[in-house]
Amino acid sequence: MRSISVKRTASGYVQATFQAAVDAVIPPVFQGSGGSIQIVGAAQLGVHKYVIRQLDHSQFIPVGMPVEPLMSLSMSTAVMLDAGAEELVHIGAMTDPVSRMLYPEGGTFSALSRINRLKAIALINQLAIPIHALPFPYQNNPGLIQTMMESLHQLTMFGYYSEWFGYGRTRCLPPEEQRVECFPPGWRMSGYPGPSFGYRGLRGFLLKYPHQKGADGYE
């Protein structure tokens, strides 16, 4: 792999890795009936920032355990994604060349093509990587590794289709200070009208509830 001149910072590395991850889950293309069209992808919406924040916010620090120096959960997850990518390279299962063009601050994972990033995630999900060499809390912790592969998908999708992007300027504030400022693109795309007071959608009743009928129908 050719050397790069970009200065990599820890946060730049985490950002790039998660950008590459959410971009693989929700890329900026859409396959409609009339062929593929451009849409806004998860990375363009900044959904990686949401995923990173939620992971780090959920991090459990055990009572009575030395916390210093504790790696942030987003950092250890980024390292795990790279471990998956390196394993993919190692077993020769890569189908496209690597490129540092898109995410110069990232590691091996973010240098992979989209399809190969998904393959790396699949390898991790199958625990087909050296899990003894992963950082805490993933080291030899298969349940948590697989849960995190679920969470990467779930958080990306939830970030994209819930109101998160609509928080606008309050997006990166603490939860109590977030306010919905605009209609998020995910709602437009899915046709969700947003929270409602109600719908005049009543089509009738199939049955009336048999209150106080005891063991009715049970002999």
């Binding site: 999708m157 289709y161 109101e163 929270p195 409602s196 109600g198 009543l202 509830y209 049970y218």
Partner: protein, 568 residues
Amino acid sequence: MNNPNVIVIGSGGGGAVVAKELGEKGLKVVVLEAGPWYGNSQWPDPGRRGAAGSSSSPKDLDIALFRNQYTKFEGEMNDLITGRLRWGPADRNRPPWFRNLSERGFVWQVAGVGGTTQVYLANSPRAFPEAVEHIWPISYRELIPYYEKVEATLPVEFAPTTAKEELFYYGAKKAGWPLIKTLNVTSPGYRPQPNAILPPNKSLMNPAYSLEQLARMEGCTLAGHCINGCPHGPSMDKVAKRSTNVSYVPLALQTGNVTIRPNAFATRIMTDRHAADGLTAIGVQFRDTWTGETEELRAEAVVMAAGCIESPRLWLNSGLPQNPWVGKGMVNHYMDWVTGLFDERDLMSVLGSTSTEPFVGHTSGARLDYPGLGSILVTGLSPGLTGSMSFGLSQAGYASHPYSAGISAFGQGWVVGAEFQEWMFNYRRTLSIAILTDDDVDSRNGVTLDPMLKDEHGSLPKIRYVPGRKARRNRKELIKIAIDLLYKAGARKVQLSDWPASLLIHIESTMRMGVVVDENGEAFQVSRLYIADNSVHFNGLGGVNPTLTTQALATRTAEKLIDKYFGD
């Protein structure tokens, strides 16, 4: 709050019911609740540190406040990490409380007054009689009057039909299933959900009333926010979806005998050895989640209703006597999820409209029950939850799965990229079905204490759930039924999620009746210690939603507790 007769730990599905029943009979009750209290004027801003203390007056309940806090935004409400309705302290700047799972998945429980019923869908079926009769230590008939009392109190009513229910009924009928009319289900068929949701407002279809006006009146407005937390109604006690914070809690406060202390995490059951009764519960130690201070409260009896994870954890962290079944035998309905995609023209011919409107009506308004296998429920979620639960959660990864053998063609596993976007683009033409499996009690499944990890409340619960052969077989059969129903209803494409087994939503049976507690809900090994949550179920009820049965048992347990210790 001093010198109560009874302390209840937890104010969720079971705890709120016990508190109301005891209070109604004149007992002084204090409820300790780990999470916040939304809709109470004592805590106008529950997420920020306020005055410590408790509330015991129905006048403190404030619907205007509640509407501001239950915003119906799925991120603000349902996010498991920072949402208002999460398993964690009131202060959302702090992390959620951690659970250690040995398998992939997550525990979906909610802290706060109302507990997990704040997000539940309010589906309130009775157990399948065949799962109880001659199996539980008490008979199904014994349960019926208690079911009736809870059904009348909540109340439970059959769900109204909206587009998604109509499509579900159409598919069920075409697939040859009969309509079941009884509440005591002994043979397979479909029916409207018995839901703890007030009937729709009679003026809902009358354009003279605006929807905003209707949302402030009594009755469901079909707003589709059951899972996001329902704030609709004229007052706290008349909110449409009957989570316990708007049903049993107001009733409990109205007795004048019940005090609820939120932000209070019980960490130890205190006991004493009495000559007559042996080991006896005498009080509870708890920690204020804002100040971190530990306090003690004494009473003549203690009821644990902290849910299926925390009740056994509390027992174990309190060093109560060894019992090989404490924490063990957990069931969880080995759940799954299938989604069908429909064509506008097909929908037009069945529904007279071109959309399934997944966000309209009760979150789940119809079901198909199959005693011996479990049940399937039509369900419509807001789009973030739909995306993540339908397409982002799968133990199959990106792969297809051996289940596909013998089932008509369908996709399976995570869906990403353009295909995911296509599903979501067609969100309004999807119909999802949740699958609840009759699974088996296995003593290897359940809650133990983590030997290493502790949080501020003691050793962490370590949780294992691996479904057995019966659960795997039953789930496969139910998947076939659900997929067939979707295709019969006209689906053009079906996606099976293949949810991980340890996605824990219907957790039951970790402190089972007959082994940990007697048939009256009192612990065999500790007198005056009762349990009244999902954990006392002897099994998974045959694969139906658990809460109504917990509430019936809690009603009965309160009665038995009074008879034994407070009778004259």
